[in-house]
Amino acid sequence: MKKGVYICHCGSNIAGTVDVEEVSKWADDLEDVAISRDYKFMCSSLGQELIEKDIEEYGLDRVVVASCSPHMHESTFRGACQRAGLNPYFMEMANIREHCSWVHKDKEAGTEKSKALVAAALSRVGHHEPLVIQYAPVDKNTLVVGGGIAGIQAALEIANSGYHVYLVEREPSIGGHMSQLDKTFPTLDCSACILTPRMFEAGNHENITLLTYSEVENVDGYIGNFEVRIRKRARAIDEEACTGCGLCEEKCPISVVDDVFEAGLGYRKAVYRPFPQAVPKYPVIDRENCTWYQKGKCRLCEKVCPTDAIDFEQEDEILEVKVGNIIVATGYDAFDARRIPQYGYGRYPNVFTGLEFERMTNAAGPTTGKVVLRDGVNVPESVAIIHCVGSRDKKYNEYCSAVCCMYSLKFAHMVHDKLPDAKVYNFYIDIRTPAKGYEEFYHRLLEEGTIFIRGRAASISDVALTVEEEGKLIVTAEDTLIGEQRRIPVDMAILSTGLEARHDSQEVARTFSISIDKNGFFRERHPKLDPVATMTGGVFIAGAAQGPRDIPSSVAQGAAAAARVLSIIDKGEVEMEAATAEVNDLTCVGCRMCVISCPYEAIDYLEDRQKAEVNRALCKGCGTCVAACPSKSITLHHFTDQELMAQMTGAMNALFEIDGVLMPA
């Protein structure tokens, strides 16, 4: 056997704490090693060519690359082997960056550990078998989950390329948070004006099946071949018949606070469309609040409907669809301001949240765009805008929510615009405006006369101590630039609440086999180089579901995710998992332990022969069956007992050798 060893410097990333030359020299003396080299950047094209050349020149039949995590470059180096005619599975990586140079400061210890890891990989790779990669065709349909701006953008990109999309949205209409906003920073475009055409296009696209008021219940399969079960909740409206005239809504006697679209600032009926431009145009009946469903009385809507579209008997529908790729763009939840009691949201009427204020300034909102106090009549003479509510605070969310400085500036502008005499105070820690046109927007607000007080607001109270404070809300904060505690009386306070992961992001993540970060946002494959992919092939993420972000960046991610999907569809086939399990027919005793342990029901029990058999198309290669089999009759290719034990033994032997002691007998 001829093995080639390649130790990467990764600039100084590895070479800084590992003596790579020493490791390379040491490896050269190991059994079967034909050539050992160290190189600045192995993943560069020159680095890869080096491997290819050596394979040809030295006739290498095994390759070990000691560099970064295989999650980073396994496919890169497998590719290099393949190009040189070597089976790609004859390559093994030793992770001496993430697991070594980056976490140990002591160069000697790092070098020794690297040797052990290289020895382990060398020992393992000798046992590798050539595996043949099988290809599976890719289903050309795509599932997009979440109809906010990110999801809409992704769906449209794919649909416009001529492929079919199922767009699943939980609410009765698509549009997401953007549909609630009034103007968008920094250009102050009217949100609805730019969003509605997109929503309309998505709703009427011949390549988009729009499933609103629906949720994905289950996902099976793998990249290229997912099977998805979707629950389409009953709207109690016959979509074929309904013309969207809105008569039912108008006549329905039940009106409830709309906590979703109106953010609690307005009301809606029991039969409703969240907003007039809703897509689709059909209303839904909210059964929790409808008198017919609750008390068996009313049916007024049915009486007034000109097309007999109300259908109280309608039931949920379950749809099973097949798709090749999935984009999850389920967005964010706004921070619940009641969690910070000292700001008095829910206690003082004139404390509002950011989303409430968006609805208030919106001409189509509950106040027809008038900025008024909670009484709906009086106009504030002074407004405090409190930044960082629920963000940049370890008790709630440590991260910066990224959009609230900008929307706080936007709010200040809106108040100046609508109430030119009102005083506006922004209480901030830092003003964060890092994108095109954003800092200029801040400068504009400085010119408009907004009063900026640098200090996180400590509390809001209604206990007046002076005549000026009477009847006001008093915001207490340190004005850190003058180093003084100040009490600022205002009529209205707006809490710029941060962006949080959806409350159910963990369940959603499980449904799609993706993972979440410590804040509950979906975890990307690589924070810099692969922000829209996930660890699960064929499942992509976009928008604020991945982390707090504004509209331009959500749109960019939606488009990026679509591009990734399109490239897979275009390729037409995907690599199948080659590392699958196989039963040894001779030794299997037919106990069926494996059958019970397989999470994918990939093992059949053949009654006639009383043996187990793995269905390779279904096997995902987890190896649970291997560990379960009492007669050691199952092999998991590429993770065989021999390979893993060789890797372990290789490491142990090297460690003892380095210690200068021989193995115990």
Binding site: S69, P70, H71, N95, R97, E98, H99, C100, W102, V103, H104, K105, D106, A109, G110, E112, K113, A116, L117, A120, R510, S513, S515, I516, D517, K518, R523, P527, M535, T536, A579, S597, P599, Y600, K620, G621, C622, G623, T624, V626, A627, A628, L636, F639, D641, L644, M645, Q647, M648, T649, A651, M652, N653, L655, F656, D659, V661, M663, P664
Partner: protein, 141 residues
């Protein structure tokens, strides 16, 4: 080698999706931990059989870690349920065979728990340092 400079040798079997990625995360965040652990990637913690653990001790390891995804987060749905069921039984057996069960650590570390991974390694290494080296203690093989 003097007793006090004893460095425990640890083999860690880490599932590819959560714990291995968590260890990568510790690296990305440059969180230091003792170099004693050598990591072997397995597809799922459910792949790790008791025999593998035993053989690792037989090769002279002072400690073995089996780390997988948190229950409910398994990339394969419920492969780690098997791990959770299997190892408590096995650790009892280890004691019986003369390997103190404190030498085996089975724990859940997610992909976002780099700091926790580093903590676990540090704690386990510390624990092993208080125990004598394994080498020679094992009369099997």
């Amino acid at each position: 080698m003097p007793e006090n400079s004893y460095e425990p040798k640890i083999i860690g079997y880490l599932c590819n999706w959560c714990s291995y990625a968590g260890a990568d995360g510790a690296g990305l965040a440059r969180i230091e931990y003792p170099p004693n652990v050598k990591i072997i990637r397995v597809p799922c913690s459910g792949r790790v059989s008791p025999e593998m653990v035993l053989r690792t001790f037989m090769q002279g390891a002072d400690g073995v870690m089996v780390l997988g995804c948190h229950i409910g987060d398994c990339h394969y749905g419920n492969g780690n349920h098997r791990t959770a069921k299997r190892f408590p039984v096995y650790t009892e057996l280890m004691d019986y065979m003369g390997i103190p069960k404190e030498r085996l650590w089975v724990q859940w570390v997610s992909a976002s728990e780099g700091p926790i991974f580093a903590e676990v390694v540090a704690e386990f290494t510390e624990r092993l340092r208080t125990m004598p080296p394994m080498r020679g203690k094992l009369e099997v093989g």
